[in-house]
């Protein structure tokens, strides 16, 4: 866990004072709504369908038990007793009062937290691998680099009013668990020939209404140049990114319109002026930031705990949970555990005050007081002794956080959707619930195997539907809520964008459509080892389409039915 120094703390305190004063001016009528909007957005405050929504930053998803208790307190005192963990590893509160937000920010500052730049057209919270620092396939621990980027991006004076929001993700492992190919900038930490750290730099990836996989513009950026190179990319974007149309304002459009080659040349020309300048990182600074992270004091343990293996053999429910929700750890005898926030019937990513407090206790007792938020909207205990996994499972089960569904169809990523969000075309939460109910049989879920199902309530794509093996997108059809289904998307190293299977469906049809897709998959797979996404890649989307829409005749009938319904 990164520990603030005096200056880090002071800046966050000063931000609270600044925003308190701005809020007062707004409430007293001297700061208009138009002028206040960009300021409140840069403090995470949206005006939503029913009430303001406050998005609190959880930098790179790392959270201490003390911070989680503070979030629980905020949920109890200023909200309706729960919070929503988002795909940017942040937490959102849906019911705060505008005039109370400065008090909430002050409370956050007491535990070294804030809502700085969690919204608005600026550099947003940097995200990373939820197993950063503990994954066995890690090449470089990304946390120190993430904190360096956090400091560099916080109150960056040149880039506070960009054409559009800007998101950076960092991965330091062989398996990309941070979706770096669909970020404005994706950084893959790698090792050079002499073992020195560097970054492969991708730009122009993104979801939204124009989903694009990012392009590599630099194969190996030696670490001292990280910040000056980011400055160069951001400056080119700030100066030349489109500002005439917000739907074409993301960096991906600039990269596409210029071509990646020309964009790279412009960045390099800019960087030629900045390279080796004062922003060049020093080994001393990297070491200083590293030393401000508390690190777990691991015990020397055997690679495999006998208590763990015995419990696995004894208790099938535990074995099933361990198979899905327990992850390998680089330190012998330890494991990382996903606490699922995807129980059937609960909005994906939601946690109650009581759950947050209980999870904070679990983190204290079993995981060095630290936890992570994953971009799949779950909580992770990153450093649990294998010998204590059984106890963690039992406690998590009692809290409703032990659904053994990580990587399975019911581990749905979903945005808050039309129930809360004023941008949404359609609701997400009831669709997620209907699918979870349709596939509630855990044996069936496990038989289906690995499957990412993602739901977005509109094409802003907060639910990452483009990179779901199955993606569901809420669309507006003459004022009615409909859902477009795509298949073949994927996150990770082999990232790809899903293809739409055909005309959209009414809300009550969606679960059945998903069932048809699964049916097709099960009928066509070679073996259990061939995942849904593998089958889509092998046979294409046609067989799936046919099973959903039927032959041409049935298709016409279905269309007529839909038209009548709409």
């Amino acid at each position: 866990m990164y520990q603030y120094d005096e200056i880090d703390q002071k800046l966050v305190d000063e931000r609270v004072a600044q925003f308190r004063e701005q809020t007062q001016r707004h409430l007293s009528g001297t700061l208009s709504e138009d002028d206040f909007r960009p300021l409140r957005l840069q403090n995470g405050l949206y005006i939503q369908r029913f009430a303001p929504m406050l998005r609190v930053a959880i930098p790179y998803g790392l959270l201490s038990s003390r911070q989680l208790r503070a979030l629980a307190h905020i949920a109890r005192k200023w909200d309706h007793g729960y919070g929503h963990f988002s795909t940017r590893q942040n937490i959102q509160f849906n019911w705060p009062k505008l005039e109370e937000v400065p008090d909430i920010l002050a409370h956050l500052a007491m535990v070294q937290m804030h809502a700085i730049q969690t919204s608005g057209n600026c550099i947003r919270n940097t995200t990373t691998d939820h197993l950063a620092g503990v994954a066995p396939d890690e090449i470089v621990d990304p946390l120190v680099w993430c904190e360096l980027i956090r400091q560099w991006s916080t109150f960056h004076p040149e880039f506070a009013y960009l054409p559009r929001k800007f998101k950076i993700a960092v991965s330091g492992a062989e398996q990309d668990r941070a979706a770096i190919q669909v970020h404005d900038i994706g950084l893959q930490a790698v090792r050079g020939d002499n073992g020195e750290t560097g970054f492969r730099v991708l730009v122009g990836g993104g979801l939204g209404r124009t989903p694009i996989i990012g392009t590599v513009i630099r194969e190996f950026l030696p670490w001292p140049h990280l910040l000056s190179y980011l400055d160069a990319i951001l400056r080119v974007y700030n100066r030349y990114g489109r500002r005439d149309n917000k739907y074409k304002a993301r960096i991906k459009i600039l990269v596409k319109e210029l071509t990646p080659e020309v964009f790279r040349a412009q960045v390099d020309a800019e960087w030629a002026h900045l390279q080796d300048g004062p922003a060049t990182l020093t080994a001393a600074e990297v070491a200083r930031i590293g030393s401000r992270f508390t690190r777990p004091q691991y015990l020397k343990l055997d690679a495999l705990s006998p208590q763990y293996t015995q419990a696995l053999a004894r208790e099938p429910g535990f074995a099933r949970w361990a198979g899905r929700n327990v992850h390998e750890h680089r330190v012998p005898g330890y494991a990382a555990v996903t606490l699922s926030l995807k129980k059937t019937g609960v909005p994906p990513g939601d946690a109650t005050t009581e759950q947050m407090e209980a999870v904070a206790d679990l983190a204290d007792r079993y995981s060095f007081g630290e936890l992570r938020v994953s971009h799949e909207q779950n909580l992770i205990l990153s450093d649990v002794k294998q010998s204590e996994l059984f106890a963690v499972w039992q406690e998590a089960k009692a809290l409703g956080l032990a659904t053994p569904n990580i990587g399975l169809i019911s581990n749905i990523i979903a945005c808050p959707g039309g129930d809360f969000c004023s941008l949404a075309n359609a609701k997400s939460i009831p669709v997620a619930a209907a699918i979870q109910r349709r596939f509630d049989d855990l044996d069936y879920q496990h038989d289906i195997g690995e499957l990412d199902l993602n739901i977005s309530g509109c094409m802003n794509s907060c639910g990452h539907h483009h990179v779901g093996h199955i993606g569901i997108l809420g669309v507006d059809k003459q004022g009615a809520e409909f859902y477009q289904v795509s298949i073949g998307g994927a996150q990770g190293n082999a990232a790809s964008l899903g293809k739409v299977i055909g005309p959209s469906f009414a809300q009550d049809e969606v679960a059945e459509v998903i069932a048809r897709l699964i049916e097709t998959y099960l009928a066509r797979r070679d073996s259990e080892a061939e995942r849904f996404i593998d089958v889509v890649r092998r046979i294409g989307i046609e067989p799936f389409k046919e099973n959903v829409y039927g032959n041409a005749h049935q298709k016409r009938e279905a269309r007529a039915r839909q038209l009548a319904a709409a």
């Binding site: 009013y161 100066r239 922003a279």
Partner: protein, 181 residues
């Protein structure tokens, strides 16, 4: 006339800003007085502007105008301004840094257009030292002065900054090192 802040104090403004007409036609050049002219007028009539019997010359840049276009003219100018049509159009922040850091402009650098107190801190960090506040419409003069006076506190919104900037060329991590040494 907009309220002017210069070097973190309320200041008197001697400059007259010229603008192109709506159809793009360039204004005529008054024979005297300090003139802040659009880039195009400067490019077409620099000798006429400099040859006037009295008065200094400054250039204001629109957000999309590249400061490289006046890099060779800096010695002849007494003021450079950058226009912000809306405060959310952040291109002028990069323009300012380029003028200061790359082209070496040492004179007054003024932010004009939709400038409010909430932008003063960042603007000053990227090199602006003068600011024409957007006074809005029909606001009484005494209220303007009071709010401009209050706006001066915005320069102190934050006591430190992580990044390299015009105002603090060394990033915090290099200044920390210096303190220790």
């Amino acid at each position: 006339m907009a309220t002017l802040i210069r070097n973190a104090k309320l200041a008197h403004d001697s400059w007259q800003r010229l603008e192109a007409a709506a159809d793009g036609g360039l204004p005529s050049i008054p024979p005297q007085g300090d003139l802040l002219v659009p880039l195009k007028l400067w490019q077409l009539s620099s000798s006429a502007l400099l040859g006037r019997p009295s008065g200094r010359v400054g250039v204001w840049l629109a957000p999309q105008e590249d400061p490289a276009l006046i890099a060779d003219s800096l010695d002849a100018l007494a003021l450079i301004a950058v226009h912000f049509p809306q405060f959310t159009d952040g291109r002028g922040y990069s323009t300012a840094r380029l003028l200061r850091e790359r082209y070496g402009w040492k004179g007054e650098l003024r932010a004009i257009g939709d400038i409010q107190r909430d932008q003063l801190f960042y603007l000053s960090r990227v090199g602006f030292d003068a600011f024409e506040l957007n006074d809005g419409i029909d606001v009484p003069q005494e209220d303007l002065l009071r709010s401009a006076q209050a706006a001066l506190s915005a320069f102190g919104d934050f006591s430190e900054a992580y990044q390299t900037s015009v105002e603090r060329p060394l990033p915090l991590f290099r200044r920390r090192g210096a303190e220790v040494a």
